[in-house]
């Protein structure tokens, strides 16, 4: 029946003027198209944020280098951080959520298709506003200027006295607008997962992808709200004579820190939980085994969700909190390590005794496991408050969170791209290019971020546009820059692969990986409204049951 739908669609799409199809993409409320829009949007910003990273690394290659001015450097690291967090990782994760969540729970669309489109366009507007600051930052006077206050935008740097012009306002409004978009999508994900599951799909039978996105969406609502509140307060300070953060009028710099990190730390888990979701779908399929300890995986993620709401001040160990507060945030921070450790062990348990096929998605997942382990352990070091007094604000921290975001989240995202690209486009990504991409990126990643821990230990603070010679930092910075270029080349290969395979790739068929969740039961790409007849499931792996009627999962659950 799905092939009928396909032919109807093909007939309709042929011979249309491009304006009409553009119009269709702009006005679409289809979850799959919006998912693709989110992903493409994030890829564009990935390239922009990557170029900013390269500029930062070139400037730091040698001490006292004059590649860019301090002003430009400060804009670059502010824009790099803001772009990568808010306009690359968030949208790409929402893109995958949009595309996959209805498919894996057997639904025809998201719960609120119009809200979905509205949220995407808000996010898109946010990114546009942020980059428009390059032109409009200083208003009518002089050249443009992007925000240069760091992605935390600590008060009082953002007050009118220290940040004249409008660059900080573009930053504020961009985050506020895209924040509304994120909250809209989060509400949509929650409603979809709770209300739109197909018959038989109890909560205890949902694929982990849906479970983890449910938890992530709940955290988005809790985390983005204080950030939005803080942005509104900052705008009141800047334009309506408020004094929340205006220290020169008695405002509080630490109030902003609390607001920002009460968003900022849960945000880390908002980004990493979908990475866990991808790993939890991909590792079982390529190990040919079901996920090890499904209930514990769900429980551990819920636990991470709760505990991560009470760790924010570990970003503030150096602000002079008393010893009791420091001890409290030290233990909550270390406690997050327990459920996270459980997840790593359960992935290992899934692989144990399997027949692991090292296709590109699984390669990236293995890299994810290894690097996320290290990121977690350096996180424990940073959680030990006194050790943090030495390491925080240094290049050690920069290395740590890039280990989380690049080594963990981005590797899992690359795995997701290789795994679901065939479903989304109907064609496989080129496997040799994929392996080349993996190995090059792995080498570049470790060149840059392994050595980056060392200048931190040797006292190199972050956010400095240049440094003094003779402090033992030169060699490490040089290696880190070389690694950045290797990662850049690998990313170019990846983008080329995405483009070329769209036309030249091998045809995928419905189920190229012999997988077990519902998205693989429909054609690639899935037809409009996904399922001609809504499926009924009896276990966590409906396609396993179909392929192995003699030994279905439903017998054991």
């Amino acid at each position: 029946m799905s092939s009928d739908v396909m032919t109807i669609q093909k007939a309709r799409t042929a011979d249309r003027p491009w304006v009409e199809s553009l119009h269709e993409w702009v006005t679409t409320v289809d979850h799959k198209r919006l998912g693709i829009l989110y992903i493409l949007y994030a890829l564009v910003f990935l390239v922009i944020g990557g170029i900013e990273a390269i500029i930062i690394r070139v400037q730091l290659t040698r001490p006292h280098l004059d590649f860019v001015s301090p002003q430009v450097f400060n804009r670059m690291f502010t824009m790099h951080g803001t772009t990568m967090i808010f306009f690359v990782v968030m949208p790409v994760l929402f893109g995958f959520a949009n595309y996959l969540v209805p498919l894996v729970i057997g639904a025809r669309d998201m719960a609120f298709p119009r809200l979905n489109a509205f949220s995407f366009w808000l996010t898109a507007l946010g990114g546009f506003l942020l980059y428009f600051s390059f032109l409009g930052g200083n208003g009518l006077y002089g050249a443009g200027s992007a925000p240069d206050v760091g992605w935390w935008a600590y008060a009082p740097l953002t007050s009118r006295a220290f940040s004249p012009g409008h660059s900080s306002d573009y930053w504020t409004i961009a985050l506020m607008v895209s924040g509304f978009g994120s909250i809209g999508t989060a509400i949509n994900i929650i409603a979809t997962i709770l209300c739109m599951r197909c018959p038989g799909m109890k909560l205890s039978r949902m694929p982990l992808l849906a479970w983890l996105y449910l938890i992530m969406a709940g955290m988005v609502i809790l985390a983005i709200s204080p950030l939005t509140a803080a942005q509104i307060m900052l705008s009141i300070d800047r334009y309506l004579g408020g004094h929340f953060f205006d220290t020169q009028a008695g405002g509080s710099a630490t109030l902003w820190m609390h607001f920002f990190w009460i968003f900022g730390h849960p945000e880390v888990y908002v980004l990493v939980i979908p990475a866990f979701a991808f790993a939890s779908e991909i590792i079982p399929v390529f190990s040919r085994k079901p996920i090890f300890g499904y209930p514990v995986m769900v429980g551990a993620t819920v636990c991470i969700g709760f505990v991560s709401m009470s760790v924010w001040a570990h970003h503030m160990f150096t602000i002079g909190m008393n010893s009791y507060a420091n001890s409290f945030f030290a233990i909550t921070t270390m406690a997050v390590g327990v459920p996270t450790g459980i997840k790593i062990f359960n992935w290992l348990g899934t692989m144990w005794g399997g027949k692991i096929q090292f296709k590109t998605p699984m390669l990236f997942c293995t890299g994810f496991l290894f690097q996320f382990l290290i990121a977690g352990l350096t996180g424990i070091m940073l959680g030990a408050a006194p050790f943090n007094w030495q390491l925080s604000g240094s290049y050690f921290v920069v290395a740590h969170f890039h280990y989380v975001i690049v080594g963990g989240i981005l590797f899992a995202l690359f795995a997701a791209f290789y795994y679901w690209y065939p479903k989304i486009t109907g064609r496989m990504l080129n496997e040799s290019l994929g392996k080349l991409h993996f190995w090059l990126f792995l080498i570049g990643f470790h060149l840059t971020f392994d050595v980056m821990h060392i200048p931190g230990i040797l006292g190199m603070p972050r956010r400095i546009y240049t440094y003094e010679p003779g402090r033992g930092w030169e060699l490490w910075n040089l290696i880190a820059t070389i690694g950045a270029f290797v990662q850049g080349i690998a990313t170019v290969i990846f983008v080329m692969n995405l483009i070329v395979s769209y036309w030249k790739g091998q045809k995928a068929g419905n189920d190229p990986w012999d997988a077990w969740t519902l998205e693989w039961s429909v054609s690639s790409p899935p037809p409009a409204y996904n399922f001609a007849s809504i499926p009924t499931v009896a276990s966590r792996r409906p396609l396993w049951d179909q392929k192995h009627p003699e030994d279905p999962d439903s017998r054991y659950e």
Binding site: Q71, N74, Y154, P156, F162, A253, S287, R288, K289, P290, G293, Y294, P295, V296, T318, I319, G320, S323, S327, A330, A335, V338, I342, I344, F345, N346, L348, G349, M351, G353, G354, K355, I356, Q357, T366, F370, I374, I380, M381, G383, A384, A385, P386, F387, L391, D450, H453, I454, I457, L458, P461, R463, I464, Y465, T466, E468, G470, R471, G472, L475
Partner: protein, 357 residues
């Protein structure tokens, strides 16, 4: 500028380079190798080469944490390697799916309880060091210094001694024979800053409208390097910091010299007139003259400092001249304005500043 010779530097780097392949092992190794370096003039502000009690107890805690995390890393990464090698798909395995295992309560319980125990141990060790450093009693003999962070320089006030200086903190050594720790009160005049001299203590932020405290008790004399560790604006990078730990005698001599009023010899009277007649006095103070500005560093004993512009350049007549004429040439974005003086005035002014011993 304060570095050793190039070959010695590369020697030290090569010595540490062994550690980079396995990260955690690398960090441990780097710690050991660095700890073995001669501490002559401390060119590398290495947190694993502590010379003061807070840095020392942090160092011991970090070795403990590194040991535990190192063991976890070795166990888990060996497991991962084993799984990847042992269970990768081979033709010999034949077709068909492997045994479908859904979980095991005992195993999952084990890998929940063991990490909880590890966390408890790590927390107890951490809490002990937090308490030891933050709640340390203040001995009566302690020296009090107030550090004020400015964009982009450090102001140091010694309330008990009546001294105000900038960028180069002088404190006495605190060896077991004469224990004399220094307690720093940390304030900010504008944005957030952070006081970080890695070999003496962890960092503590300087935050406007807030009073923070930290203490150090350096056990050997010498110069210790650090810099601002909290992004504070355009020239955050060149808000450098140095702490000179003096022997008790040298410290007394320094205090005595700093307590003198500024040199008022008539030798450079022309330059003094230039100073007093221009906007210099709006921001800078020179003790015993009409210049009482507090926005910039106190210049009463400018020449007693080895650097200008918060460590951005050596304190030489040529650099001073360039700094007054065009600060952006040394530190673009600093708040010192270009003074646009005539050559004659500039020369006279530099000659005057050179008398401020």
């Amino acid at each position: 500028m304060l570095g050793t010779t190039r070959s010695a530097k590369w020697g030290a780097i090569a010595g540490r380079a062994m550690g980079i392949f396995v990260l955690l092992a690398g960090i441990l190794l780097a710690a050991k190798l660095c700890a073995a370096n001669p501490p002559s003039d401390n060119p590398v502000p290495n947190i694993f080469e502590p010379h003061s009690t807070p840095a020392e107890s942090i160092f011991r805690l970090s070795l403990f944490v590194l040991f535990i995390t190192g063991v976890i890393f070795l166990v888990v990464s060996s497991l991962l390697t084993y799984v990847v090698v042992k269970f990768r798909n081979r033709v010999a395995n034949g077709a068909g799916e492997p045994a479908q295992v859904y979980g095991s309560t005992q195993i999952e319980l084990a890998w929940t309880v063991i990490p909880i125990l590890i966390v408890v141990v790590l927390f107890l060790a951490t809490a002990r060091v937090i308490h030891a450093i933050q709640d340390a009693p203040r001995p009566a003999a302690a020296l009090e210094v107030t550090a004020v962070g400015h964009q982009f320089w450090w102001e140091f006030r010694y309330p008990g001694l009546g001294i105000i200086t900038a960028n180069e903190l002088h404190i006495p050594v605190s060896d077991p024979a004469h224990s004399r720790p220094t307690f720093l009160k940390l304030l900010s005049a504008d944005t957030d800053h952070s006081f970080w001299v890695p070999q003496l203590a962890g960092k503590t932020d300087l935050i406007p409208n807030r009073v923070n405290e930290m203490w150090v008790d350096p056990q050997r004399t010498g110069i210790y390097l650090g810099q601002c560790a909290q992004y504070c604006g355009t020239q955050h990078a060149k808000m450098l910091l140095q702490v000179s730990v003096d022997s008790p005698e040298a410290f007394e001599a320094w205090v005595h010299a700093q307590q003198q009023p500024a040199n008022r010899s008539e030798k450079a009277i022309a330059g003094r007139r230039v100073f007093e007649a221009t906007a210099c006095v709006n921001c800078h103070a020179i003790g015993g003259t009409g210049a009482t500005g507090r926005f910039g560093p106190d210049l009463t004993h400018l020449i007693s400092r080895s650097t200008i512009a918060s460590g951005a350049a050596l304190n030489t007549p040529e650099n001073l001249r360039l700094w007054i004429q065009n600060p952006d040439a040394i530190k673009p974005g600093s708040l010192m304005p270009a003074m646009k003086l005539s050559d004659a005035d500039l020369d006279a002014l530099v000659r005057y500043l050179e008398t401020l011993q």
